[in-house]
């Protein structure tokens, strides 16, 4: 049992994160063409709305919530020290978790019931959706059954996660957790693990640069102005299109 625990909460997280980093870097550099999520809105747009919107906004809030408890545990505990604020936080998180669940179910229904969407579904899409479904169901279960998650995450899990970051794992607290929460933790690292192999990779290329770039883009093969000037060394100007 201890060996299994050690594997799941020490070895597996390291493997998952390493595979994530190396895999994403490799895919981005060598297979740049594939770094996106295969949108199927063009084949079916109406049902998609009722799945993708609740799912993605749910993901955003839930992800930022987990990240906050990980990065700012003291602030999270301080916030939760007043019961009303704790309840507001937990209820909000649960609502967005439910929104994720509803969205995901709608997306899965759409994917399996629509012939056109089935035509662009890969086995990895199914694996990913099932894994996500398990993860979201477990998350909602934990939120209902093991209160109050935001507080004990900050108190128990954040030290564990930081100990992994510091390369000196402290696992006593994690080993003692109920199996539901353990599954949720393993599921989280499994999701990180399959990012480079699935459509999840699209979150890496969220188009934030669009906010700052000018609308129009003109590219020249070569800086002709410089090339025509005999005083510039020819190797100084690199073409911007490769």
């Amino acid at each position: 049992m201890n060996a299994l625990n050690s594997f799941l909460f020490v070895a597996f997280p390291y493997v998952a994160v390493m595979v994530f980093i190396v895999g994403v870097a490799y895919r981005y550099r060598q297979k740049g063409f594939t770094v996106s999520s295969l949108s199927s809105q063009f084949l079916e747009g109406k049902q998609l709305f009722w799945g993708t919107i609740p799912f993605h906004f749910g993901v955003l809030v839930v992800f930022v919530g987990h990240l906050t408890a990980f990065l700012l545990p003291r602030a999270t505990l301080a916030w939760n020290s007043i019961p009303l604020r704790l309840i507001v936080l937990e209820v909000t998180a649960f609502i967005f978790g439910l929104s994720m669940l509803i969205g995901l179910v709608a997306l899965m229904y759409r994917r399996f019931s629509n012939a056109r969407i089935r035509a662009v579904t890969t086995p990895m899409d199914v694996v990913l959706e099932l894994l996500l479904l398990a993860q979201v169901v477990l998350g909602c279960w934990i939120a209902l059954g093991f209160r109050w998650g935001s507080s004990w995450f900050a108190a128990d899990l954040t030290p564990y996660l930081w100990s992994l970051v510091r390369l000196s794992p402290e696992t006593a607290a994690v080993f003692a957790l109920p199996w539901v929460i353990k599954l949720h933790i393993v599921g989280a690292f499994a999701l990180i693990l399959i990012v480079p192999f699935s459509r999840l990779v699209h979150f890496v290329v969220a188009p934030l640069n669009y906010i700052v770039r000018p609308y129009q883009q003109v590219m020249w093969n070569w800086d002709r102005k410089t090339i025509r000037d005999p005083n510039t060394p020819w190797s100084e100007a690199r073409p911007r299109n490769n």
Binding site: L43, E44, A115, V120, Q217
Partner: protein, 517 residues
């Protein structure tokens, strides 16, 4: 002055016979792939008609192009705030049913069906799902269907025509249509480039071709919404957007684009135009009434020494400037003022131009004394041994234009943001050239009439002959004038030569070449 060059195409619509050869040439080269079956980078539409995708000109539905926003402009259905908030679901995105579901037929069933009581048939099947399907739409579904209630009468360009004008257009005896070949307009203010969250779309500085970098495209699909001409397409199989590339690999090797090269009616002209890139934003923000004139003003005279000097300072090659001086596109668009951009009100400053169709002219068939008629003609004129004359002359000089079977307003909605004078000026010139040539070859018009027509439109007989030559007699080399892509620069387009100095060849992007075991 920021002088740039643009490879620009002119379509002479009077010459288009609607044969779709251009579409097929393009399809065979570029879009005969999985996920691209439904794409027609080049398509030919019957006007009046709803086109492809259906009613693409109705921006209340498709939300494409730019719109005025106070003094400036903004993207109608995309742009920074809209693209980012709609990143998970784009509400203005057309779906495949707006185009058509690609289909093929189960031809093998004709051969491989077991013996039975019935004749085997080749059933249509979807190229997406492989399931049998009912074909409801195709890429040219409304071909030649002028006057039809479902198609022609739903043409968005009829919006501001009075009911009486519409009825007159679709009277059975007066019914007419013309063809509108469309490819990507390689705009100066492209909405697709502006809408791309990934920054994958760009305009090439040397020739103005707008391209999508397939490795940078992340499939956010905002360009599909933003292009008002619906000329960026989403490949549902690769998850990337694709568009007309103006056959740049052919152009770089000195060949004409496939659509142009295959054109049966020889309606297409390709040439370089120099333009002042400083003015793009101001011109795109001009009032509807001025936008055509302002765009024409941006196009620079390639013979002007000042323009030549700025062009050289901007790095344009001498061969590019020479090509601009010999450009058939420049002649049609600027020298003769015969061509107009398609839907300038979308404010993308499209750089493909259309010579509006004069046809069909109103004509009558009259009975004449053949001998008398033959006497009137000069030796070039041909006389058929019958006594019928297809007579296109009218008492009033440009009567056929104001009285055309297409209301000028309809043409103006297509080509000049509703300004009928822009269209009628050009049609009158075409008519004057026609009268001038009729006088020369047939000789049955009074010389004074022809002189009056030419004077009215500001043409000299010499210019009219030049227009006639480029319209009717021009050889391939007159219609296709682009600068050479310099070999050394063609290499630099692919690789930075400094990186591979001392090695042989350029290698492979992903893997080394496999040789033997």
């Amino acid at each position: 002055m920021d002088v740039r060059s643009q490879i620009s195409m002119v379509f002479h619509l009077d010459k288009c016979i609607g044969c779709h050869t251009c579409s097929i040439a393009c399809k065979n080269i570029w879009t005969d792939r999985k996920g691209a079956e439904y794409m027609w980078w080049n398509n030919v539409e019957t006007k009046p008609g709803t086109g492809y995708p259906g009613k693409w000109e109705n921006q209340d539905i498709y939300q494409g192009g730019w719109q005025k926003n106070g003094k400036g402009i903004e993207l109608k259905g995309a742009g920074k705030p809209k693209s980012l908030t709609n990143i998970f679901h784009n509400p203005n995105m057309p779906v495949i049913d707006d185009y058509y579901e690609p289909f093929t037929y189960k031809y093998l069933d004709l051969i491989e069906s077991p013996p039975g009581d019935d004749q085997p048939t080749a059933r249509p099947i979807s190229m997406i799902t492989g399931e049998p399907m009912d074909i409801k739409m195709g890429p040219n579904w409304d071909d030649d269907l002028s006057g039809s209630p479902d198609y022609a009468r739903n043409d968005p360009n009829l919006a501001n025509l009075t009911p009486a004008e519409r009825e007159a257009m679709f009277q059975l005896e007066r019914m007419a249509f013309f063809y509108l070949p469309r490819i990507c307009n390689h705009c100066l203010n492209p909405a697709c480039v502006a809408s791309c969250p990934s920054g994958a779309i760009y305009k090439r500085g040397e020739d103005g071709i707008v391209l999508i970098n397939q490795s940078v495209c992340r499939g956010w699909r905002m360009c599909v919404t933003a292009c008002p001409y619906k000329k960026t397409y989403y490949n549902w199989s690769t998850g990337k957007s694709e568009k007309c590339i103006l056959c740049f690999p052919r152009i770089e090797s000195g060949q004409a684009p496939a659509c142009m090269h295959s054109c049966v009616g020889r309606i297409r002209y390709l040439g370089v135009m120099l333009y002042d890139a400083d003015g793009i934003e101001a011109v795109a923000s001009a009032d509807d009434a001025d936008v055509v004139d302002r765009q024409m003003d941006m196009i620079l005279d390639p013979f002007d020494p000042e323009v030549i000097a700025s062009a050289k300072a901007n790095g344009l090659a001498d061969s590019t400037i020479a090509a601009a001086q010999a450009s058939p596109a420049y002649k049609f668009v600027k020298v003769w003022d015969l061509a107009l951009p398609l839907h300038p009100e979308y404010r993308t400053l499209p750089m493909l131009f259309y010579v509006p169709p004069l046809l069909p002219v109103v004509a009558s068939v009259t009975e004449v004394d053949n001998e008398e008629q033959a006497k009137k003609m000069n030796p070039v004129g041909k006389v058929w041994p019958d006594s019928w004359l297809y007579d296109t002359t009218t008492k009033e000089l440009f009567g056929t234009i104001d009285d055309a079977r297409f209301p000028l307003k309809y043409m103006a909605n297509l080509f000049s943001a509703g300004d009928t004078t822009q269209v009628s000026d050009r049609l009158k010139k075409l008519m004057a050239v026609r009268l001038h040539r009729r006088q020369i070859t047939v000789g049955d018009l009074a010389e004074s009439t022809v002189k009056e027509a030419l004077a009215d439109t500001g043409l000299t007989p010499q210019t009219a002959d030049d227009i006639y030559y480029l319209t009717s007699l021009a050889k391939f080399d007159d219609r296709f004038v682009i600068p050479a892509a310099h070999r050394e620069q063609a290499i630099e387009m692919m690789e930075f030569t400094g990186d591979v100095r001392g090695s042989t060849g350029f290698g492979f992007e992903n893997d080394t070449a496999k040789r033997g075991a």
